[in-house]
């Protein structure tokens, strides 16, 4: 009899078994080699980014796992963050002279587990120097056509999907108009609307009403998110109300998020600081800003576009799985 230490978590006796079937694991291996062939044929270099770094992300709605490390016996412990994406490390590589790189590796987000979410997941991320947003969208489309065996992909602007599905212009609507739209859609919010800003309301409408209305027969790519949701994308040079950011959706799954990358170190620093302000306003802890990234941007990031794609979610779509655990060796419940 093995003695098991007291643990408040209920351990199910069958949870030593993998959550995916052996069949799905073979499909995963096939997908990984298919992805590597795709990039090899395009002369994109595979790199391995570290999972631990001295900074995480400031994004108010992404929570990093963290751990403590002493660099020497004498030094005090320093917090290291498990990366929510290899983005910062990859941008440092780009600034150091890499032109076309991809990474397939683990990423971590301290957030709820659900049918499309596991706190530890596999992310494919790649960067292309000299690519604008549309060139990268075309490459993402090629990759989806190859891996999902599909022919068509739709593309709309963020403004178009709101006008089409909600009859609202997301770039000009007032907070009151957005609250009215949310109520009209029958969304009954538990804690009232007071603390929600326009982006929160737009995101609520997007995830509750717009995303579910996308056709299921082909992936939908949404481009030109509002500048206030730019994240690390550059602002559009022709319309400064929007950012050169795109997202891919398919069958209710958010599959990929891409940017024409912001390369201005000062603007990037300002966005990190504004994230931390929003964190304070929400009573979330502020986060250290990644100085290595800012210095790298200052040294010069090539004009490039980059995208992150959830490999487990892509695999779910390929095999028709309804829960992410069905494509993971061991999901968080079995961790």
């Amino acid at each position: 009899m093995i003695h098991v230490a007291a643990n408040t978590r209920h351990v199910h006796k069958n949870n030593w078994r993998p959550s995916a079937s052996i069949e799905q694991l073979k499909k995963r291996a096939q997908l990984l080699s298919q992805l590597r062939r795709f990039f090899e044929s395009r002369d994109v270099l595979e790199i391995s980014a570290p999972v631990l770094a001295s900074a995480g992300v400031t994004d108010p709605f992404i929570d990093n796992f963290s751990t403590q490390f002493s660099f020497s016996a004498q030094s005090s412990e320093q917090t290291l963050y498990l990366q929510s994406s290899p983005e910062y490390a990859m941008k440092r590589l780009l600034a150091a002279g890499c032109e076309h790189i991809y990474s397939i590796g683990p990423a971590f987000r301290h957030e709820g587990a659900g049918s499309n979410h596991n706190p530890e997941f596999t992310m494919l991320e790649w960067y292309r120097s000299g690519f604008d947003m549309q060139m990268l969208i075309d490459e993402v489309s090629d990759l989806l056509k190859t891996t999902l065996n599909i022919e068509n992909i739709s593309q709309y602007s963020y403004q178009d999907v709101f006008l089409k599905h909600m009859n609202i212009d997301p770039l000009t609507a007032t907070t009151d108009e957005l609250i009215e739209a949310v109520k009209l859609k029958g969304i009954d919010l538990y804690n009232g609307f007071e603390t929600l800003d326009n982006d929160d309301l737009l995101q609520m409408l997007f995830s509750h009403c717009i995303e579910p209305s996308f056709a299921n027969h082909c992936p939908v790519i949404v481009t030109h998110f509002p500048a206030s949701q730019a994240s690390l994308a550059r602002i559009n040079s022709l319309d400064n109300r929007v950012a050169n950011r795109f997202e891919v959706y398919f069958k209710g799954i958010e599959l990929a998020n891409g940017f024409h990358e912001l390369s201005d170190a000062n603007e990037q620093a300002a966005r990190f600081e504004s994230d931390n302000k929003k964190r304070s306003a929400l009573n979330f802890p502020t986060k250290p800003i990644d100085q290595y990234l800012l210095t790298a941007l200052d040294a010069g990031l090539p004009d490039c576009s980059g995208v992150a794609l959830g490999v487990d979610r892509l695999l779910m779509l390929i095999v028709g799985a309804s829960h992410i655990r069905d494509v993971l060796t061991f999901d968080i419940a079995r961790a």
């Binding site: 709605f61 957030e111 709820g112 804690n191 929600l196 609520m204 995830s207 949701q229 958010e254």
Partner: protein, 189 residues
């Protein structure tokens, strides 16, 4: 009662909403890659029985409801209250007409019902899935009819009216499915 954060939400969790205990039926976690996460929750209000959908911001916390189910045998009614007893401890609990609701037409002495207690008081009485009740009145049916075609109404000892096959007669005890209110079979002797 403890508070529950949205990351503890799951089907079966009992929470307080608008001053009423509720049962979570479904919990869907909606988290875009960028932006606020939500929990879309389907909830049944336990007193009114109403089912509604509510959106929570992830991180919201809600007061838990002190709700438990207990198995008690029905004893009798005094006209105002319905009395139940725990067959092991012999402890008795009285439920009012509101808690008994529609279940009233299936309550037969000694049947073990599920009583949902909120802060110790019954709010819902659920009869067993199957009850056996005597037919007190039904038209004599035609001989030779087998179950199926049409049937006829029969009044039971509790006052409930169910459709029964033509061959079943007054004085017989039948088994009824309380969830659908339909005749299941003649009772096993």
């Amino acid at each position: 009662m403890a508070n529950f954060s949205t990351n503890e939400f799951k089907a079966g969790l009992k929470i307080m909403l608008d001053g009423e205990p509720c049962n979570i039926l479904e919990n869907e976690y909606v988290k875009p890659g960028k932006g606020q996460a939500f929990n879309r929750v389907k909830i049944r209000k336990l007193i009114s029985g109403k089912v509604l959908e509510k959106t929570f911001r992830s991180g919201d916390s809600v007061e838990g409801a002190d709700v438990m189910d207990t198995e008690l045998a029905y004893l009798y009614t005094d006209g105002e209250f319905y009395h139940f007893m725990n067959n092991e401890t012999f402890e008795q609990i009285a439920a009012d007409e509101k808690a008994v609701g529609e279940s009233i037409k299936w309550l037969a002495e000694n049947d073990v019902c599920t009583l949902t207690l909120w802060n110790g008081s019954p709010i819902v009485v659920t009869p067993p899935n199957f009850v056996e009740l005597e037919i007190t009145e039904t038209d004599p049916g035609l001989k030779g009819d087998t179950a199926g075609t049409g049937g006829k109404p029969a009044t039971l000892s509790t006052g409930a009216v169910v459709r029964v096959p033509l061959f079943v007669q007054t004085g017989e005890v039948i088994k009824v499915d309380t969830r659908s209110g339909e005749y299941a079979s003649r009772a096993q002797k």
